[in-house]
Symmetry: C2
Subunit: 451 residues, 2 copies
């Protein structure tokens, strides 16, 4: 579980919640914290390349303003003075948002995304924009894995995962349409949390496939991941957001009344996991003893990944096809192929695939009747070598498709000593219970728990 080259002290290693407490108490200034993070970035950025844009002066000015507010005794939000990193497909007013494509270089949104407005209302300092793959699809950006710069950090939320892993910032926003939060969290050895579909408004976030797009967070503790509750609830603009599954923090920090039970699900693509990953999960199952039972998914789930692919292709063709029409020579071949595939798809086939989201979700009902969460790998293995790809989201697709809350926990290491995430998947809308179960699992495996 040892992470390589990750710093072990200094204010930039505080969790977001610790930092907010210290700032609120006057034991730490926001400007000290932001300066420490900027220093850490200056030291590591050449190696990690997590950032697309930072305005150091503006960040320091914002931090100083937060400190003035505190000194004047104004009410403080739960993230007052804490820096947060933002994936570069999320609009931040006053910062360029380039969506991972040179076509949008220099694009400056006129308005904050809803999640940015909510972060600011909570007192956060928006530190800057982190690298995303091209249109948050596969073609990689410049970011490297902080644990081994010769390997991918995963994608598409590459920079957000790497920045948190490298101790540059305690909290970062990402998004997941297939595996873009859970996979990079696994590869970078941080916590990645993707709430239930419809929990967090996507207003001001690049639209890939609205039936699948979901905002998530990267953090170094489960308590910090629970800060996602600040992002949740209707904004009157994203019609898919019905109600908030929060609040999360109270439940996440509470003890389960009954020892949780986990369903160990290999999924239909188990054989695509590395042999070492399969072995590690076998050992995990043994360590959990009677708290985990292996559960086989119904046959229909073997088609889920294909259905997700159909929905992604059709909806991304609808929403992003215009880029291909405008500047095909500045877009990756893989993305052009996706758009072509989506454009070739027939409407009724798309609709049939999309309808299966809720069929599969319902089919998981009996599992969640009996188990608190599903446990399964977050990725097939460690971060692959090379920077040409971002790894395989195959262990994420089913849960994204069903819109279930899911979290990656950096509880394992692979054969090369690199992180490997344990993925927990919760019942739809039961985000708080998922985080509570995750905290129980972490404590149990570290010997602090009661199992």
């Amino acid at each position: 579980m040892a992470a390589k080259r990750i710093p072990t002290e200094g204010p930039c290693l505080l969790t977001a919640r610790e930092a907010a407490w210290r700032i609120a108490e006057g034991a730490l200034n926001s400007s000290e914290l932001v300066a420490a993070c900027l220093e850490r970035i200056a030291a590591e950025e050449e190696r990690v390349q997590a950032w697309e844009f930072i305005d150091r002066d503006k960040a320091m000015a914002e931090a100083e303003e937060r400190d003035r507010r505190r000194r004047r005794g104004w009410p403080l939000g739960p993230l007052h003075g804490v820096p947060v990193a933002i994936k570069d497909i999320i609009d931040v007013k006053g910062m360029p948002t380039a969506n991972g494509t040179p076509i949008d270089a220099g694009r400056r949104p006129f308005e904050d995304a809803t999640v940015i407005r909510r972060l600011r209302a909570a007192g956060a300092v928006i530190l800057g924009k982190t690298v995303t793959t091209e249109f948050a699809y596969y073609h990689p950006g410049k970011t490297r894995n902080p644990h081994d710069p010769g390997r991918t950090p995963g994608g598409s939320s590459s920079g957000s995962a790497a920045a948190v892993a490298a101790g540059m910032v305690p909290l970062a926003l990402g998004s997941q349409t297939n595996g873009s939060v859970i996979r990079p969290a696994s590869f970078c050895g941080v916590i990645g949390f993707k709430p239930s579909f419809g929990a967090v408004p996507r207003t001001g976030v690049l639209t890939l496939a609205p039936s699948l797009d979901q905002v998530g967070v990267f953090a170094r503790t489960i308590e910090d991941a629970a800060l996602a509750e600040l992002l949740m609830g209707p904004d009157g603009r994203d019609a898919d957001v019905l109600e908030s599954p929060g609040p999360l923090i109270g439940t996440a920090l509470s003890e389960p009344l009954v020892t949780p039970a986990l369903a160990f699900v290999k999924t239909p693509i188990w054989e695509s996991a590395d042999a070492s990953t399969r072995d590690a999960f076998g050992e995990l199952g043994e360590a959990l003893g009677e708290q985990a039972d292996e559960v086989e998914l119904p046959e229909v789930f073997s088609r889920g990944i294909g259905w997700l692919g159909s929905v992604m292709a059709a909806e991304m063709a609808r929403n992003l096809g215009h880029y291909v029409d405008r500047a095909p020579d500045r877009i990756s071949e893989k993305f052009c192929q996706l758009i072509a595939d989506g454009r070739a798809m027939r409407a009724p086939d798309y609709l049939a695939a999309r309808d299966m989201r809720w069929v599969l979700r319902d089919a998981l009902g009996p599992i969640f009747d009996r188990f608190d969460a599903i446990v399964t790998p977050a990725a097939p293995g460690e971060a692959p070598e090379g920077l040409e790809g971002t790894g395989d989201p195959v262990f994420n697709s089913l849960w994204t498709f069903c819109g279930l809350p899911t979290i990656s926990l950096p509880l394992m290491t692979g054969p090369n000593g690199l992180p490997l995430g344990v993925q927990l998947v919760g019942q739809y809308g039961q985000d708080a219970r998922l985080l509570r179960t995750a905290r129980w699992l972490v404590r149990t495996l570290s010997g602090e728990g009661d199992a």
Copy 2:
């Protein structure tokens, strides 16, 4: 405005609200009322052919049970003892629901649709199932226009409109995916009210195009149309139902604080209205004087009817294509063509068309900032001669596409003395205000109002 051959007395001519009051007071028995309606049906059905299924004994038994409840002093719902007719695409437990196709002849649902459960909870007696066109699309059923049996009653809610017009029942349910409530209401000279999209759950109603399908009611007064509030609000199963725009009745019966202003909208298809209809609306505009201003829609609206057609074809191919695969020889050519068109449609084109629903709705914002409702024809003219078609929904498509609440008021007659509806369209979610404006218009034009 004189309706031909429509009865002028007897309990079956009571409005639903009057009937419910009399029953609650003990001045009328439900069994008397239901018997009167059944008698009226027996006298007129051969001529009108509104019904697909009636179980007289069961209806009488239900009515007697309602009378017993009242005599025992049990709490009574707002429709206690009142018979209601149900379009034959809406599931009623214990009655066959054939969806207008011989393929589903004898199909008996195991469960009531949500709207049926709500009607029963309000005390209504489900009298029977009314004729629908094939799959609620164009191919006509057997129903004739009560005002002239040589003419269509309109469709697809043919039987529901005709039954209310012929005095067989005070209230009937229909549905509208394009113009299937407003058009038959216009042709039959009754009130048709289609609430805002997402107001009424469609659980248990045949799914044609879920982005467009909307449940509506037929009645003889606006107060009765306001009883649609009993059907509204989430049922936990139809995900498109967010919240109820009701309650309606109180507002519908109230006086407007300020004299309403109407936007007279000719729509881009004005030339497809009969000359007599265009003349009649010119006279209506003059009668309304400064309470109505002509407003021209932005150019983009000329494409709205085509977009609705695309969404209908794609979604109906998805949801009803299996009928064509199973029994192509028992399905009309027009329906087979629709399914073929939908199957040929590309997914991104479908998605682009569907997204325009909310673009057009937003584009109407400035009109509803200034006007209480849009006034426009409910149909191009009187019911056409012949029974081979059901008339043209062209004046309904835009409002259905945008999901706006709309009502047809039997305020005009055409050159042959047949009814012609005035359509009022309200702001999204402002169903109550639409009904209040409609009541004001009816009273104003009849000389009872203040205009």
